[in-house]
């Protein structure tokens, strides 16, 4: 895939796995990040974007946490694909996450491939890309690193932490680990633990990558190969889980692609096949296979209750954070029942919680799309919280 950033040049530039990407970088030369697995990471870089202006009281900062294959370019053109920012419909002047009012921060997650330290970076111990020598990371590790950025920006308490899917997991982790630093939390289309079914889908994706002969046990950067086939199959399988049967039927039905009759072969006869192949093929231009392995693993390992003796309410004991949970009716990857379980846990500690299920046939991806009710709910919730926080 021609336009992937030249990762093999990294030994010269330890700052980033993607040195030619725009945006802000924070490099921790003399701090070591202790991970849940026990390993330590040094020379960590965090790539992030900010929008709007931090007020004098530093009380108007919103941290947006991105999903599995998201990035820090929430409301900027993607520097590789040229597509609009992944939440450009939500974040901007006059939009629900109003950059005229709030200071918005989004950082590429630990393990990512858009500038934050991940398996594509140089291992300072060997001078070569980490590959599978990169330690297994968790959602809590991602959040710990984000807290360094918030420290760096001089912000004691975030006005809100907002995210969907894996971003929602990070929101929950933030609220549980740093309750005094989160005024409002908005976990969208997520769960307090990754379900068996979701782990199963991730495993299919990882096996697809690892079955690609070009993967080379994760050392493809050193060997000059590219496991694009495996990564694209992983994306195709995952993409199905982000949609709904109704949405697939509405979009494609059994319509044929560029032909009038079945081919009696294994071409992409159906539009839905052609669509998935396309989704797979464009994904490999912007994402790294090893990052995909590590980040899916972090999601699999996420089980917030397990961090608190198996009792989810304990994760939120004495919390003063104001929560707003949002789910979508047709999301079968993170169904409403998962959000409701979080609501029950929050009720058990009498937390301040709102919970909204939004009617949509667009499946899990609904949180990224133009859903007027989502905008109304999020905008109303944030405005109400801003009133309590005294943000002008």
């Amino acid at each position: 895939m021609g336009n992937r950033p030249p990762m093999t040049s990294l030994s010269i530039h330890p700052v980033s796995a993607a040195p030619d990407l725009p945006g802000q970088r924070l490099y921790f030369a003399d701090r070591r990040l202790t991970l849940d697995c026990g390993a330590e990471l040094s020379n960590v870089t965090l790539a992030y974007q900010t929008y709007g202006t931090l007020n004098a009281e530093k009380s108007n900062a919103i941290l947006i946490c991105h999903a599995l294959t998201g990035n820090q370019f929430v409301a900027d053109q993607h520097p590789i694909t040229g597509k609009p920012g992944w939440w450009q419909v939500m974040v901007g002047p006059g939009l629900p996450i109003d950059t005229d009012r709030y200071f918005v921060i989004c950082a590429n997650v630990l393990g990512g491939c858009m500038g934050t330290t991940g398996p594509g970076n140089t291992n300072p111990a060997t001078g070569k890309p980490y590959g599978l020598e990169f330690p297994v990371i968790t959602v809590a590790d991602m959040v710990r690193l984000q807290s360094w950025l918030i420290d760096h920006l001089g912000i004691d308490k975030l006005f809100a932490v907002i995210g969907g899917s894996m971003g929602g997991m990070q929101v929950l982790q933030w609220a549980a680990t740093y309750p005094d630093r989160v005024f409002a939390a908005v976990p969208i289309a997520c769960a307090a633990r990754h379900s068996a079914q979701n782990i199963a889908f991730h495993e299919v994706g990882r096996q697809a990558i690892m079955a690609d002969p070009e993967w080379r046990k994760g050392a493809y950067q050193v060997e000059g190969t590219n496991p694009a086939r495996g990564l694209s199959v992983a994306r195709m399988a995952a993409h199905i889980t982000y949609l709904s049967e109704a949405a697939l039927h509405r979009k494609f039905g059994r319509n044929l692609q560029d032909r009038l009759a079945l081919s009696y072969g294994f071409e992409a006869d159906f539009q839905v096949e052609s669509y998935l192949r396309h989704q797979g093929s464009i994904f490999v231009d912007r994402f790294d296979a090893n990052s995909y392995l590590y980040i899916t693993r972090a999601m699999d390992y996420f089980d917030l209750a397990a961090q608190f003796g198996g009792h989810l309410p304990r994760a939120f004991k004495d919390t003063r954070t104001r929560f707003c949970l949002i789910s979508f009716t047709s999301d079968w990857l993170f169904p409403t029942s998962e959000s409701r379980a979080i609501v029950h846990a929050l009720n058990a500690v009498a937390a301040n919680v709102s919970f909204v299920e939004i009617e949509s046939d667009k499946g899990h991806d609904a949180f990224l799309l133009d859903e007027p009710e989502l905008f109304a709910v999020l905008s109303g919730f944030l405005t109400g919280c801003a009133e309590h926080r005294g943000i002008a």
């Binding site: 029950h344 058990a348 301040n352 709102s354 909204v356 405005t383």
Partner: protein
Amino acid sequence: MAVNDVAPRARRIRVDLQLIADMVKPGTRVLDVGCGDGSLLDYLVHFKQVDGRGIELSQKGVNACVASGLSVIQGDADTDLSDYPENAFDYVILSQTLQATREPRQVLEHMVRIGRRAIVSFPNFGHWRVRWYLGWTGRMPETAALPDRWYNTPNIHLCTIRDFVGLCEELDVEIEKALAINDKGKAVSVPNHWLANLVGEQGMFLLRQRD
């Protein structure tokens, strides 16, 4: 301050809701069960500075409440009250909903468990007009307070004021205040529950679990 950004709110709410609001002390923690469009909750939050939460069955109602900045979850009195810890609230309000719950007795028990006080209002099936309707026509009463037909009413556990008082005695729940509400939504002054049961279209009670 952001308070100026908020649209001017209705200072007037339905008369019977105002009676409930009058029972709530400012600055307290309130759970409004079955909060509907959130008008009582909104009033309490803005004019009594309460820390207010709501539970509402209809998703449309919930979404509208949250979009207007209220803390409301989708749920119902039968299933969601058991989650909360004891004395989580100063007041738990159940307005015009008790008769539509599956287990009114359990709901009442939970209300006085999770709230230091409970405020309950319900249509009184002992009202003279209801008695007259059933006695005279021999058919299920349809009145302003009970507008539905027998086959489509959500009210599955209708009771009279005396029935309710009896349940409170059974559960060792103290009645701190009892109001009989007339068809205008105003409280009428009556000397006892017997008379209240005749003239009240609604009963409204401020309750507390005896220690």
